[in-house]
Symmetry: D2
Subunit: 339 residues, 4 copies
């Protein structure tokens, strides 16, 4: 941590600050220059509150040098974390494909789609039982019944299931789910994150619409700090001024997250773009950038989907896209995992 | 709602779409042009899912004309909503000042600050008992004990209390709170919003860091749809590329929210800027723009605050700022409410 | 400047770097810690290229501490710069109002509007002769004839004229203009800025749509480095994700620019919002925040304006708004300048 | 174009508006509904100024349906434009690689780098002679001498040269250049764009840091409207809130620009990320997304580069990256062009 002092800071004030800092298990050094004096802090600064230092009248600016996360930090855990989901290895050098409908609607819809995505090569099944919808008048998901249907679909296809939790009151319903997803809007629902830190299931954590990569890693740290180290990071588009896409897919997130962290990284091209025709090119780009998995929306009849139809592929389109993804993944040396 | 058709759409496909739409209680008209055909929909389109229309292969684009919110919409409720909080009238032509520490830390800290802000003219007391912190290693709030201390502070000062809920499991603890705040990170915690729709307390709803004003109004609609129409909207800064401030205060939100909605509007200059020195000029600007209330962080000793010290005013600074706010509010014809 | 070293940096590499830096007239200090080593640089770092330091394989990150601008920096020029424009004092404690049509269209249109804004209390006249339009098919301005008409309008009203230059090839046409405006799209047209550094007229420099405040100050520095210190900074809205306004007015820019620089600050609420109804509340907010001037679009017949009609006030609306601005400016102790 | 009327609009005002619109060579239809009346306009609305319609007091909102560009529009030019640059075919199904230093510094530096990138498989040489630098104190480019050196490098390597123009006063110096680049900061320098519309060289047009794809296409339209249809579009990162990268690479731009336009699309991963280590993964992702060319910065000694060292590859690193690019491009069916 670096503390830049104001010109007006008096020597005794500076000394007092240094004394105070030295008591916090860090080593504070004063560096004096012509136009500026700065204090450098070395040691474990994770617990120093930047804001209260910033609040001092003698302080012009505070800059953090060390990342404020530890368990998610590759610096302290150089090896890739590999998360086993019923035999699929997320982060282990293969490519996983999580596919399925945005929402679970009916048994027939889900099973048909699940069978189709399995057929096409998907390695896990996604489907929303609890749906975060911006309008209170829109379909809100089947809830417990949706989870029951997902489990049913798993029986038939053998695909592990991934589904979103919206509130910790529902956590018991997720007892038999394989991967619990935390949506973008809940990325900083810290109460939920803490609770998920106490369960032993993999958590697929989506980046918030305007969250920095560091904030995503801090949210992963919340879960990991509780003891659950099986966190999967997901980039699903960030909010920018460009109106042609729902969000802007930030693919640089793949190499950056892999540089700063050891956790597996998933790309969701469906939500990132909001446009079915962009799912294939963005999936291929994501594979080439080195991601560990893709999460893709597939609906048997997008124009009658109860949510997110515009970005869903039909099973036929998904099957064609999967052919390209499989070939590219093979070429890139990280073949699609077994399904 | 306007549906723009692709050039390739065949007449029978278009007819089929129009038939389908006409069954949904809206009136669909085809308008044919040289380069483009469009369908206009008139009626209550609130329940039509734009995404599934967008998913049709004959559809190029869908644009919404009518706002998707009703209860929060000034079009249907032309008069200002006035929310009574123990005699203070939010939205009734006066200016309310909600002041206090970011976090409740100790009894002594809270009471001292509460007495000081009351003295300076604040009309309500704020203080966080549950704190959403980006780091799991940061102070997370006193919880139930924090609420107990706020109630204590209300006894002494008579100021109604405003405090944030982070999860609906805690809702019983808020039984004796005057205004329940929903933080920016929870603006789209739809499960929480629905639950708050069933309580009878005023809800201070903060705009998410990258939420549009329409999304803020949709979140207000979630609460109102449940029956609780006492929603107070709060702009607290949005995320942009500018690094000098924590967020960018979007003051245009004041006249725009008041044009589109009848609900009261609060500005939080402390979180919006993250810099104590900007609180006064932005407070004055907010008053001049016509807001109904300000929410300002005050801490007796910002450099020792357990959270958000950098943006907190000392009681002395707050008192000086209040003198200017009071004079300006008086001048603008919306004097500070009684305290 | 702070250089954070990678864990892998070898001692001899670090020594070599320090030697190299010490040759650049700065003092480099190595600070060693448990997890991290950093080098602090003290002295005039303006000329050190952060990118080439960043390019070294032993460097993890480079952070600048000192601002890279000097002439625009309040640290080195504590007193406010006051710019005299035919007797109006920009930055001298009064409020200036620059008003007029977006584009100069006809003599009659310009003169009528000029007389009306003078009548209402405007202190300078604005009008575009060269118009930056996103479409090549839109009206591009009257060019030289537009400037002739502005000079004509000045003769009649006595108001100094402010008009935009788009390319330095036209600079001779601006010989008799009072203030040369550089538009947002040209804020980083460095060739133009350099040339303007050699003229002796005040330059009104608009912030780019996605420029940081530091970049705005660096562009001011370009002009000032050439010898012309009469730069007026203008905030006119930045680009964000919010679709209801054309741009988002960043009013925090007023106190921040005044803290970091000694130059006068203008707010343009017309372009910032793009909506005539928002001009009045945002003008009042800007005055309360402490700006030195407002730039407001006024058109005698907005619906027939050749550009930017949606954000222009009629002379009647402007006159009413001016009454409120005058009263508020008086109240705030910075009365509207003489006109 | 769709015009949404205010509730308060009187019938005679609506009739008058429709009459007026019908005179503009478009067909205006009134569609009446329960809560809203709208007017639909069909025909060539390119020349209707949305702003002046928006300015009418009876108008609530105006929405454009048809794109405001024609020559750049795939709707009217379904076939891909192929631009021949000394035998390389941009947009013709191959992949071009434009590589070289950010700035031309010395003859030796340029020639060494040019020979190295040719060797590695680059198909064109880039190098800046005129440099847009945010600081007036930074190296500004060699100017005419830089162009002379580029021509020299072309003689030796046979690679066509791409270099940036900053101001139209310099245009004669570009007479012997193969591709003229317009930088992000000049994307809306309309005077320059118009002039380039009268030359017969290919123009590589970079997207502005906060420009929408539609604005990029409108700027292409400026050049094409003047008669020069050889425009190459370039995505080079947009500005967002994420601080880890210089900009955010928006790869969705590739399929979207190719859907809306027939012009070739280039990706610049060096400027988009600002980090050398991200250039390879983002280049591969760009190839997989279907781009026509990559523009990559290569510097023989990045840590001593006079500009943009942090994002430049060494010739060795470039050569390794090229191996992967060549293999992937071959695999994707769009092999690297001849060099």
């Amino acid at each position: 941590m670096i503390i830049i002092l104001r010109d007006s800071a008096k020597d005794e004030q500076v000394d007092e600050l240094i004394d105070r800092l030295n008591k916090l298990d860090v080593k504070a050094n004063l560096v004096e220059g012509v136009h500026q004096r700065i204090i450098t802090l070395i040691g474990d600064t994770t617990k120093i509150d930047m804001d209260s230092v910033q609040a001092m009248e003698i302080v012009e600016q505070v800059k953090r040098v060390q990342e404020p996360y530890k368990k998610a930090n590759r610096r302290f855990h150089p090896d890739d974390t590999v998360i086993d989901v019923k035999g699929r290895k997320l982060g282990g050098g293969t490519l996983n494909i999580i596919a399925g409908p945005c929402s679970v609607e009916t048994e027939e819809q889900l099973i048909t789609t699940a069978v189709a995505v399995k057929e096409a090569g998907a390695t896990m099944l996604r489907g929303g039982a609890f749906k975060p919808r911006t309008s209170p008048y829109a379909f809100q998901g089947l809830g417990a019944e949706g989870i029951r249907l997902l489990i049913e679909a798993r029986k038939i296809t053998g695909l592990p299931i991934v589904t979103e939790i919206m509130d910790l009151k529902d956590i018991d319903l997720f007892a038999d789910v394989d991967v619990i997803q935390v949506g973008a809007r809940n990325m900083q629902n810290f109460t939920l994150l803490k609770e998920l830190g106490h369960c032993d299931k993999p958590i697929l954590l989506k980046r918030g619409l305007s969250s920095t990569l560091q904030e995503l890693l801090m949210s992963a740290e919340y879960i990991m700090a509780g003891g659950n180290e099986k966190v999967i990071l997901c980039e699903r588009g960030i909010r920018t001024f460009e109106p042609k896409t729902r969000n802007t897919l930030d693919l640089s997130a793949v190499p950056l997250l892999k540089y700063h962290s050891h956790l597996p990284v998933v790309i969701d091209p469906s939500h990132a773009t909001g446009i079915a025709a962009l799912v294939e090119p963005m999936s291929l780009a994501a594979v080439a950038s080195g991601c560990d998995a893709l999460e893709i929306e597939v609906h048997r009849d997008p124009k009658n989907a109860w949510s997110d139809g515009a970005q869903s592929l039909t099973p036929e389109a998904f099957s064609k896209t999967m052919e390209k993804i499989k070939a590219l993944a093979e070429f890139c040396g990280r073949p699609v995992d077994k399904n």
